[in-house]
């Protein structure tokens, strides 16, 4: 049984199609990133997974149950966007309250330690910085030790240091074989922390695979060298070359198979200088996959 099973869901807001007929199956224990620019439909998709947004079509199952039923049984924990904390309570009271709602929660001190809140346990929620409040919201999401953890842009507005600490905590939580689905528009977050990346653009899933596969699918790698004043003609006919760019005395060959390209380059009779083989960052892959999407 899949931890998350999204089947043909669609959602429109007025004339805007936020999510267009998407399906997604996440097996138990997988850490999946939903990657996309702002406005791509990530939050709507996450909202439907959690049962917070009713889909116009299709349906969602979490561990074989409806989202509401899964929530009622304490199978789900979530960090949603725009989740302010209630006032006049201490960190320990809020986290302890949410923890107490679940049937088999983590020990409270373990939760506070995991979220890095040990020192802040007695602080009132109104006196926390943005980053500290975000850690409290993370603690609330994991306190019940849910099987499925859903995080909507969990590190938005955190600095680099805090973001790193955050992912260490999320990975520790996932180690127990739990399923994690998180939305992000930070490419390196998806690359470094997910087993699988689902790229969303304009309400559609445009790519789905491991971070390495996503990079490969987005046009693969490049072979670049100094051409000088030698002619570039004929390079596009080399085996496995998909595109050729010439500029500034350099030529860049795009390919899915740089080994073959390099081998055949040396039989062209050209003088090859400053040869480089590069794998594009996930960022480039992401841009090529979502090209034409809305800018915001």
């Amino acid at each position: 049984m899949d931890a998350i099973n999204v089947e043909g869901v669609a959602k429109s807001y007025g004339s805007v199609q936020a999510v267009v007929q998407e399906s997604l199956r996440v097996p138990t224990g997988q850490v999946v990133a939903v990657l996309g620019p702002n406005g791509a439909g990530k939050s709507t998709l996450i909202g439907m997974v959690l049962g917070l947004v009713a889909p116009d079509a299709g349906h969602v199952e979490l561990l074989g149950r409806s989202p509401a039923e899964a929530a009622a049984r304490g199978l789900v924990g979530a960090m949603i966007q725009q989740g302010e904390l209630v006032p006049n309570l201490t960190v320990r009271e809020v986290v302890g309250f949410v923890r107490g709602l679940y049937p088999a929660p983590m020990p409270l001190d373990d939760v506070l330690e995991l979220a890095g809140l040990g020192e802040l346990a007695r602080r009132r929620t109104g006196r926390l910085s943005g980053g500290q409040a975000q850690r409290v919201r993370f603690a609330m999401a994991v306190a019940g030790a849910p099987e499925v953890l859903v995080l909507d842009e969990p590190t938005a507005a955190l600095d680099v240091e805090a973001r790193r600490a955050f992912w260490v905590a999320i990975r520790r939580y996932a180690e127990g074989g739990r399923t994690v689905l998180f939305a992000t528009h930070h490419l390196e977050e998806a690359d470094e922390n997910a087993d699988r990346v689902v790229v969303v653009s304009r309400g559609r899933i445009v790519a789905d695979g491991t971070p390495a596969e996503i990079k490969r699918r987005a046009g693969g790698r490049t072979v670049r060298f100094r051409l000088g004043d030698q002619p570039a003609a004929g390079l596009e006919k080399l085996p496995e070359v998909t595109a050729v760019e010439v500029g500034g005395g350099f030529v860049t060959l795009h390919t899915g198979d740089p080994d073959t390209v390099v081998a055949s380059l040396y039989s062209t009779g050209l003088t090859i200088r400053d040869l480089e083989i590069t794998t594009p960052a996930l960022e480039d892959a992401f841009l090529s996959l979502t090209a034409g999407g809305p800018a915001c």
């Binding site: 049962g51 917070l52 929530a71 009622a72 019940g144």
Partner: protein, 243 residues
């Protein structure tokens, strides 16, 4: 469920505005009015001395305010802040949330009733039989139910910016027309006619009747039950849409 009730109560009991508006203000008003209108002259409508009559007025006023403010304004804020959405992904059900919120709101009116009663005993030497005190406290607890429903209705429909003035408007409107600030006997006949149908008048009447030594009139129970039923249905419908 008890866990959630405790959390709801703690949040409000630590709120300075609650302490001021729902506790300090009714007690202070009691001390002020009962000093100004001291005397044994019986009120022609209620048949109570002013020190007892004002005690019931201010206890009702405090309970009314606490119940309305702790439902309307807070529910609107929790809808905006995402806290209710956060609760939706936990095992807490929407029915538990609304039941606990109602219970909490009703109970948050109790401290005002007790404190104003205490002030009347200590300051004005008001003496009632123990069963009367118990009955007044219990009735002014149960009787807040229509106001909890009204607050839930406001909080489910209005945003946080609008919920505040709407709740305050309902609060002061109900308090004044319900004879909590000024005795009904001095209000114009038009307002007195309207007041008979208002839940706030009937709410205070529960306490006034017991303080005067007789059972509350059946008509008061009927009016309060009717308001509770009507506002309750609207509140549940609005809350389910807002949840």
């Amino acid at each position: 469920m008890l866990n959630y009730l405790r959390l709801e109560l703690l949040q409000v009991l630590r709120d300075r505005y609650y302490l001021f508006f729902a506790l300090a203000l009714p007690v202070a008003f009691y001390l002020l009015w009962s000093s100004i209108f001291a005397g044994d002259r019986l009120d022609p409508v209620t048949g109570l001395t002013s020190s007892v009559d004002i005690m019931i007025s201010m206890a009702s006023y405090g309970a009314l305010g606490a119940t309305l403010m702790s439902t309307g304004v807070r529910l609107a804020a929790e809808r905006r802040s995402g806290w209710l959405r956060q609760l939706r992904v936990t095992p807490l059900t929407p029915a538990t949330v609304i039941v606990v919120k109602t219970l909490a709101a009703m109970s948050l009116g109790l401290p005002a009733v007790v404190l104003v009663g205490l002030a009347s005993v200590l300051w004005q030497g008001v003496r009632l039989d123990p069963p009367q005190w118990v009955a007044i406290t219990a009735l002014l607890w149960v009787g807040t139910l229509p106001f909890a429903a009204l607050g839930t209705l406001i909080g489910s429909l209005a945003g946080p910016d609008a919920a505040q003035p709407i709740t305050l408007g309902a609060y002061f409107g109900l308090a004044v027309a319900g004879g909590m600030w000024v005795p009904l006997s001095v209000l114009p006949q038009v307002i007195r006619d309207v007041a008979a149908a208002l839940p706030s008048t009937r709410f205070a009447e529960l306490g006034r009747a017991v303080a005067a030594g007789h059972a509350p009139p059946v008509s008061a129970g009927i009016v309060l039950a009717a308001w509770t039923a009507a506002l309750g249905v609207l509140a549940v419908v609005a809350y389910r849409r807002a949840w």
